[in-house]
């Protein structure tokens, strides 16, 4: 039981971090960023290159991933999303753009980093073992703690900094925020950069545990979509809740339903659909996000 909960918590922490970036971008710009998973993969490969290929310390790789993805996010917002949002008649058109960017990043990742699975050596050795009831490798604990720290830092940023307040205002009501003198263009860019940076950070963190390969992007995006659906799209607390809930569901489901064969995910997906049928805006979302 302890083991199941610990697994769920660890999974939840990493999921929540992935969902945060996605929901931030969505709340600010109403863009469903299909390329989020690819950004995560890109971040992983950057850390891999710096740590495993160039032999630099892990923290350098992590920071490099964050910076690189933040810059990439800012550029994508300014040069791609901004003009398209301005010109298109329907909001949904940005989905095609996002999907195009996802394909583009897939292609770039294949050309730059190759098709193989990559991973960096363990950053901490050893396994925490509490009487066989709870087994958790130290590196997993470290990554879990780091993930939670980053989530906490992000929440603090959103709550207490000027940037955070401006972005929250923007998320609540774009027009009103603009009228109050918030520089919408600037904060959209910062928000997108921040969202992409979070994706890069998760990629950098997880490359030490799960490694990275170019196929992880799409499925990761889909998983992140599910988390923000559970919690409510565009709501920061919702994304965190969604991440932890999905993590727990997987951990419990995989243990309890294992004997029935491969139905765990079917059960998770189906219950998600039922849940949304009753509560269309997720746990904490505003109706019709």
């Amino acid at each position: 039981m302890e083991q199941i909960l610990a697994n769920g918590l660890y999974l939840g922490a990493q999921y929540a971090l992935i969902a945060l970036g996605l929901t931030l971008i969505f709340s600010l710009m109403n863009v469903l960023n299909f390329a989020h998973g690819q950004m995560y993969v890109f971040g992983g490969f950057v850390t891999y290159t710096i740590v495993a290929q160039w032999g630099m310390p892990f923290i350098v790789g992590l920071i490099a991933s964050a910076v690189m993805l933040a810059v990439m996010g800012a550029l994508i917002e300014v040069f791609l999303f901004r003009p398209v949002i301005r010109k298109s008649k329907r909001d949904e058109s940005t989905m095609l753009l996002a999907a195009g960017i996802a394909f583009f990043l897939d292609a770039v990742i294949l050309l730059l980093f190759g098709e193989k699975q990559r991973g960096v050596p363990k950053i901490v050795n050893g396994v925490f073992n509490w009487d066989m009831r709870l087994i958790m490798p130290y590196d997993r604990i470290l990554i879990g703690v780091l993930a939670i720290a980053i989530i906490a830092g992000f929440i603090a940023l959103m709550q207490y900094s000027k940037t955070g307040r401006a972005m929250r205002a923007l998320a609540q009501d774009r027009v009103a925020a603009q009228l109050m003198g918030v520089d919408v263009d600037r904060y959209s860019m910062i928000g997108f950069a921040l969202g992409a940076m979070l994706a890069g950070l998760v990629g950098g963190l997880l490359v030490t545990i799960t490694g990275v390969n170019l196929g992880m992007g799409g499925p990761t995006s889909v998983k992140a979509f599910m988390m923000i659906m559970i919690g409510g799209a565009g709501v920061i607390s919702g994304a965190i809740a969604g991440g932890f809930i999905l993590g727990m569901m997987e951990s419990i489901g995989l243990t309890v339903l294992a004997v029935y064969g491969d139905i765990t995910y079917l059960a998770i997906f189906a219950s998600l659909m039922v849940f949304l049928a009753f509560r269309p805006q997720g746990l904490m979302g505003k109706p019709w996000g």
Partner: protein
Amino acid sequence: MLRRTLLKTTALAAVASFAMLGTAFAENPVLKIGFVGVTSGPAAAWGTSNQRSMETRAAWINETGGYDIAGTKYDVQIISFDDQKDPKRAIAGMEQMAQEGIHYVVGPNVDDGAAAVRPVAEQNAIMYFPYAFPKELYTAPASNAVLGMVANYQSGPAIYKYLMDNNGVKKVAFVAANESDPLSQRDSGSAAAKALGLEVVSDSVTYQVDTTDFTPVLLPVIQAAPDLLVLSGVSPANAPQLIRSARELGFAGLISTETAQDAAVLQEGAGELANGFISVGGASTPELASDMMKEFVDRYTKMFGEYNDESNTKVYALEYILATIAANPAALDNVDEFKATMDTFEAPNPYMVGDAKLKYVGMTSFGQKRQVSVPLVVNTFKDGKFETLFVAQVD
């Protein structure tokens, strides 16, 4: 990584200029061989190692003056098509091969693609060499598919038997991704284990291929306390993570798979935790590799920057096609001649030391000779390298 790309580009440029030189001076006739498989997306590693093996070998042949078929030297040209692991695309790829007048195609890499291209291949007289295991592809009335490797229902029993005899394995557990290929392999593996008298303690646990944490997946399996954990049809991307999670959960038994793996990937992803991991490979371990195999690895590495051990099993298909055509030149554009030759064809295996032979097999599994005979080399992983555990033959 940049270095790799640079190397790759230079290598490609070099190949391109060689190719041009070749056409300008030698004026050999060109023999086109097709490849339809997955070279992008999650499973890119499978097809890429295929395609690169073929391109390496083709460049090598062309550089040394071409392949001799009935006194004529042929330059070998590889025509590749990326099916994105989509059976609908694979059909388009096969159609394109037919359009190019190609009669010999390597691929596709997965079950659904191999089944989908069957009608096209049969209508257009194309022999194809899939890396997919469903038996109906190779048993009559199907006759155009030739299994390009050892199937898991052939290698699995051999491995289990060996481990029963040598390591006292009694209880076995299976884990598979919830996709067609791995699930089918799990079912046949489990059946084979039962037939050998092993106790199957768990064969219902599956995982999504995009799983980022395998601990919850493996928890119930490890609790069933098997002696041997079989990762059925595991992709090279998932293998190191599964091994790592299993070991970290305190699993001390053996871990094995029936698919080919890459040593570098295992080393990076699981490090010393992967020591003792049993997988099926080709003949590139130092004890078995011939000079030709070593040169192949060399050339591959030069051309693409990095070798992939999965290519050890994938070097053979092209060799078989060329050698069979050389044995019966009428097969150049007549696959019926090719099929007739398959029954009697035999040639030395250039990639392995000793007197191993290239020949077609499959009578036991398929009732007709529709499988290339590659040595069933079972490896264990040790400190970043593969070591040969044992070698067997499939009939």
